[in-house]
C-alpha cells in the first residue's frame, strides 16, 4: 500500500479500522508503564514530589506544539496539493490539540503555585502558550462557524500557517527573554541535561501521549470522513425531493 492509496478516503477508513484496536492497546500499555515509572521516580532535591507533575506537564506541552505542527503540514497539503485527506486531518486535530494545550496550561499552573507561589504570571512562555490556546479555540470556532467544509478548510489552512510562527516563539521564549519558566533541558542542542531517573519516565510518558494523540487523531479523522459522507448524502437526499 503506497501513500497514494491512502489518499483514497475509503482505503483510509479500512486501514484505520484495522489499525485502531492495536494502537489503542499499545497506548494503554505504555501509559501504564509510564505512570508506574513516574510513581517510582525519586523526589527532586529542589522541587520535592512536585516534580511528578513534570511527567504529565511536559508531554502535554510538547504535544500542544507538535499538534499545531501536524496541522501546519496538513495546511500545506490543503493549499498546495489540495489533498482531500489533509482537510480532514487538520480539522480532526484541532480539538485534540486544544485539549493538550489546555492541560499544559492547567498542569503548569498547578505546578506554578507551589514552585513560584502563583498560578499565573504574564511571562513570555506562559502567554505564548495561552495565545496558542486562543488560536486553537479560534480555529475550532472557524470550523464550526462555516458549514461548507472545503471553504472552511482553505481559510483554516491559511490561519494555521500564519499561527505556526508562534511555535518558535513558544520554544525559544525562555532563551530570548528571562522568564520564570525554566529553559529546555531535554530538547536542546548538546543533549539532555536532565537526570536519567527523571528522563526515562518522562520519555516513556511522552511516547505514550504521542501514541494517544495518534490513536485519537486517527479515530477523529474517521469520524470526520463519515460526517462528510453523511453531509453529502443529506444534500443529495434534499435535492432528490420533488
Amino acid at each position: 500500500m503506497t501513500l497514494l492509496d491512502l489518499a483514497n478516503p475509503t482505503r483510509f477508513l479500512t486501514l484505520t479500522s484495522r489499525l485502531l484496536p492495536w494502537l489503542a492497546g499499545l497506548t494503554f500499555v505504555l501509559l501504564l508503564i509510564g505512570l508506574y515509572q513516574s510513581a517510582m521516580a525519586p523526589d527532586d532535591y529542589q522541587q520535592g514530589a512536585t516534580v511528578k507533575i513534570m511527567f504529565i506537564h511536559v508531554p502535554n506541552a510538547w504535544l500542544s506544539m507538535f499538534v499545531w505542527g501536524v496541522m501546519s503540514l496538513a495546511a500545506l497539503g490543503t493549499l498546495v496539493w489540495r489533498h482531500p485527506l489533509a482537510d480532514v486531518a487538520a480539522k480532526a486535530a484541532a480539538p485534540i490539540g486544544a485539549c493538550f494545550t489546555f492541560l499544559a496550561l492547567a498542569t503548569g499552573s498547578l505546578w506554578g503555585r507551589p514552585m513560584w507561589g502563583t498560578y499565573w504570571e504574564w511571562d513570555a512562555r506562559l502567554t505564548s502558550v495561552l495565545i496558542l490556546f486562543l488560536m486553537y479555540l479560534g480555529l475550532i470556532a472557524l470550523w464550526r462557524a462555516v458549514e461548507d467544509p472545503s471553504r472552511a478548510a482553505r481559510a483554516a489552512a491559511v490561519l494555521t500557517l500564519v499561527g505556526a510562527i508562534n511555535l518558535p516563539i513558544i520554544k525559544f521564549s525562555v532563551d530570548w527573554w528571562n522568564t520564570l519558566h525554566q529553559p529546555a533541558s531535554v530538547l536542546r542542542l548538546g543533549g539532555p541535561t536532565l537526570d536519567r531517573a527523571f528522563l526515562i519516565p518522562l520519555l516513556i510518558m511522552a511516547l505514550a501521549f504521542s501514541l494517544l494523540f495518534l490513536t485519537l487523531h486517527l479515530a477523529a479523522m474517521r469520524n470526520e470522513i463519515l460526517r462528510r459522507r453523511v453531509r453529502a448524502l443529506q444534500l443529495k437526499q434534499a435535492s432528490q425531493l420533488p
Binding site: T50, K52, I53, C99, F102, L216, L226, Q237
Partner: protein
Amino acid sequence: MTALSLGPYAPFIVSSYLLVTVVVAILIAWITIDYRRQKQRLRELDAAGVVRRSGRSATEFK
C-alpha cells in the same frame, strides 16, 4: 509497594493527574459517541434508500 509520599503539595499533584485523566476521558468519550452518531445517521440514510455516487450503500466502508 510502599504508599507514595507526595509531601506537602499532594493536592496539586493529585489534582493535576486527575485533571489530565478527566480531560482525556472526555476526549475519548466524545470521539466514540461521535463515531456512533455518524454510523447511526449513515444507517438511517441507507434505510431511506440514498446511495453514494459510486452506487455503493451509505454504510459500506469499501
